[in-house]
Amino acid sequence: MTATDLELLRQYEPVIRYTRGESFFPMDVGLYVSDSSLWVQPPGRPATQVATQGELNLEKLAQMPNSSPTDIQYLKFIEPLELREMIAYTQEQLKQRKITQHFETGRGRLARVGFISRVLDLLFSLTLFLRGRVRGDTSAAAALEYEHLSGPNSIPRYYGRVIHQDGWIILQYWFFYAFNNWRSGFFGVNDHEADWEMIHVYLYKTTDGILKPEWVAYALHEEAGDNIRRHWDDPELERIAGHPVIYAGAGSHASYFSPGEHLAELEVPIFTPVSRFFRRIAAIWNRFSSQINPANPAQHTQEIFALRVPFVDYARGDGKSIGPGQTVEWGEPALLNPIPEWVQHYRGLWGLYTKDPLSGENAPAGPMYNRDGSVRRAWYDPVGWAGLDKVSPPNLVLQRLTQRKAALQIEIAQLETQIETQSQKLAGLSIEVLAIEQQPHLKHLWTNLRQEVQKHSLELASLRALLAQDRSQMEALQGYEERLHSGDARIVPAYRARSRPIREPEMRINRLVELWSAVSIGILMIGFVALMIFYRQHFIAGLVIMVSLFIFLESGFRRQLPQLINSLTIGLAVVALLVLIFEFFWYLVVLAVLTAGGFIIWENLRELYSARQR
């Protein structure tokens, strides 16, 4: 690590804006490790403690021997709270509520999605009882422990790394949080001990040797690719005195470019084939009926048949702000060049392992590794992780263009030679065919030669097509080169922006809809039980009526009644057509044949008539 690298990291270090009510902020991992114990979980047996709380530090953690491949090594930060501590914490929370430092939920998480998604939400919540999960009081205990560790005037810290890849200079910023309380604190998906978040700033060197920022990419849950990055000049990317601004999700700490309430949807894997099937059916119907939004043909079906559990990631940015020029500034960054031993050698989890098969409640591994011990893509391929492997740094565009042109020129020259040779050969063969055409004793040779001529003719045609294509490509490259020299060319690829925060008009959900969304699933379940107990003889009919009534009400609340009526009517019309086809199949076949016959006669007579007129 040179001083220049450190300066670079400081020059572009981000500003992070949190949501009011956030309890955890980027901290020193050394403090966290010194307050944690180390455990090993063998499969099917109780976990064993390898190091007690207070015994560990980063050096010792790096020196811990690796467990066997089937065992899971993890740190444990929190011990359950005693009742007295829990009461004290609750009192503190109530005090904060009075001075409006607490988090206020947004409008209608459940009201924003459909009936099926709400049922899935219920099922997902119920699975928490079966899956391993972080205990309810752990979040409170973690908040107390974090406060105790960091003290009232804690200095936040980040971990920085500078990487050189494919002509880019990448500044990698890592932020460590003691706890992710998205579920318990902000009605999100999960809770887990320890949380590593990260962003990248991509720089390139100008011809004057100055380093300029070109792209930024923010880690967002499990996403990767083009959607997670923005151009440095993108209006969506907020910057304060040259520092990119991150809006951190409350509890989840996921990084967003814009403030607001972001709808994060969790697709339930077992329902994926079902939703895919319905989407295909809907796509066919939409194509048939031309009822497609031309700008986004997939949108309609995706909205209807999305069997996903809705969660809101609150990234409002109305709470604490950390970074240059903010009320709290960054402390001295810790550098990850060269890679410290604790990063490289400790492959275990950085917090409690809850045995959750979906992994959402298990703590993450360190900055370098995934939970299974493999190296993170963002670590070894930061360019590809943000989809920049197909984008050249601006300083290399011209150079790469010249290289491509040279390669294409060679290809063109080779093709020209091949065509010349092939053309001469074909001409010779054609003359031979002509020469022996009238010689019956050479008939066999004549047939073979004719086949040869046809084969070579086809080959020559495809070579000429390839040459024409290469020449067009060369022209395009030359045109692009000229535009690059004149400064008219675009070197930044366009990209499809991912969903933005939910806009205000979409959030105008009235109280009745919210209330209905909150209680409907419960009422349905009570109705189900009531039918079972009191009207068992009419159970099926009762269930159909009840579900129909719910669907009807739901559509009414969502102002989708016309769509519902239309869909039902179309469904009935399709059934009606099937009935008619079943009943009158042979009549229809006869009718079709007669129609076809009549049409052919008409067409032929028309042709005949027009020929006579000429």
Binding site: S289, N293, G387, A494, Y495, I565, A576, V579, L580, F584
Partner: protein, 189 residues
């Protein structure tokens, strides 16, 4: 990258223009309304026609004849219609009784066709609703009794349901919403 919000051509019009297609479907709706209204009387006439030794004069006076129609519950849950007059008696087949509802649907469809023709959204919605109701009753009747008239009903109502969903018809009532158009090629993630 230039991003602009554009409105579909139809969406800019505050009052939808009545295209020839909307007019045609409106005319078909009126025809369907008449068909639904005359369906039940036609069934009765057909049944009367099939009676041996029947002459129209037997039904006179008409008022008295109409008063004698009775909706009867023959066997649970089958409904049937019975008519008595001075010199005769008519028992309609069980599958004919549900057809009693179509004149009411036909009468409702007449003003709905007018709303439809005038470009009102609720006109379209109600027209679709009536097709749905007619189809549901016709299908239920078909699966239970298979009376011959349901085939005609199923055909007419299914065709009307599809024609109400023609792109040109539907967008006249529900213009496509404003869409975001990205004018430069998009790069997939």
């Amino acid at each position: 990258m230039t991003i602009q919000t554009v409105q579909d051509d139809n969406a800019t019009q505050s009052q939808p223009v009545r295209s020839w297609l909307v007019s045609l479907v409106g005319f078909l709706l009126v025809s369907e309304a008449i068909f639904l209204m005359v369906l039940f009387p036609a069934l009765i006439l057909l049944r009367l026609w099939q009676l041996p030794d029947f002459s129209p004069s037997q039904l006179l006076p008409l008022q008295q004849t109409l008063q004698t129609f009775r909706l009867q519950l023959i066997t649970t849950p089958e409904l049937a219609l019975q008519a008595r007059w001075a010199t005769g008696e008519l028992q309609l087949l069980p599958g004919h009784a549900p057809a009693l509802i179509y004149p009411f649907l036909g009468v409702t469809l007449l003003p709905v066709s007018l709303f439809f023709w005038r470009g009102k959204r609720y006109g379209w919605t109600l027209a679709v609703l009536i097709q749905g109701a007619s189809l549901a009753i016709a299908l239920a009747t078909y699966f239970r009794y298979e009376p011959f008239y349901t085939y005609l009903l199923l055909f007419v109502c299914a065709m009307m349901a599809f024609s109400l969903n023609f792109h040109g018809v539907k967008t006249a009532f529900f213009p496509l919403e404003a869409v975001i158009k990205v004018t430069e090629p998009e790069l997939e993630g």
